[in-house]
Symmetry: C2
Subunit: 141 residues, 2 copies
């Protein structure tokens, strides 16, 4: 089920790191927040309660696995999780590492910035490292 005018039906929404029949996990290219990823439902549904219990469980598992991977790899001061979708009403979860020295902390990431941020420089190929962690955590027999 796709919607012709939906950005997340027409495109992947980022660099795909992991994919199942239900969802894909993509990395968001935003230098202010290294490791910022999204979990995106493959089918077009507006709300979590428009999905089946099985689809929801798989999405929540992916959000948790991503939080865990990002914490292990990047040691953020806080993780922000959010499913908003006011502009793109197709279920997608933001999993955002935050540092006390980032451009907006402690404000949410959607507001204006007031300073230059300092965030860690990822070591090695961060996409590969996140993808490896996800494969380990989300492997289904």
């Amino acid at each position: 089920m796709t919607a012709p005018d939906c950005d997340l039906c027409r495109g992947e929404g980022g660099i795909v790191l992991f994919r199942t029949a239900v969802l894909r996990i993509v990395r968001v290219e935003n230098p202010d927040y290294p490791g910022f990823c999204r979990v995106i439902a493959n089918r077009h549904a507006k709300e979590m309660t428009d999905l089946s219990a099985e689809e929801r469980a798989e999405i929540f598992d992916a959000v948790v696995a991503l939080e865990s991977a990002i914490r292990r790899l990047l040691f953020p001061d806080k993780i922000n999780l959010a499913s908003l979708g006011n502009l793109t009403p197709h279920v997608h979860w933001h999993v955002i590492p935050r540092w006390k020295t980032d451009v907006r902390f402690p404000d949410p990431i959607w507001g204006p910035t007031s300073r230059t941020g300092v965030v860690p420089a990822p070591v090695g190929n961060l996409d590969d490292r996140i993808a490896t962690e996800l494969r380990g955590a989300l492997h289904r027999p």
Copy 2:
């Protein structure tokens, strides 16, 4: 486990509508968003991945039940779900009904307002009606 300087350890964080050993669901008093509720972990944990799998599952079930109750009672245009905690690093989920005519739509609720909002006036005692829906959805035998 409580933290002496944590607002969500020292207080309930809102009007309690439902409670288990793991969590409480509270209604947030914010006239811009009738039905705005939070799911708050009872014990002090910074991130979802600091909780057990069982605690996480119970919290996600509560978030889903709340989304479902708010949709049935208030017919919002969108639901926003978020666990941020930059200022209060104690797991709590915002479950926020949004209307296209509210004070900030389509922006997230944490930014400035640019207009007077129009949102539905709840019929009857909304707290009681949400609590009744939650008891029905989250009853554990």
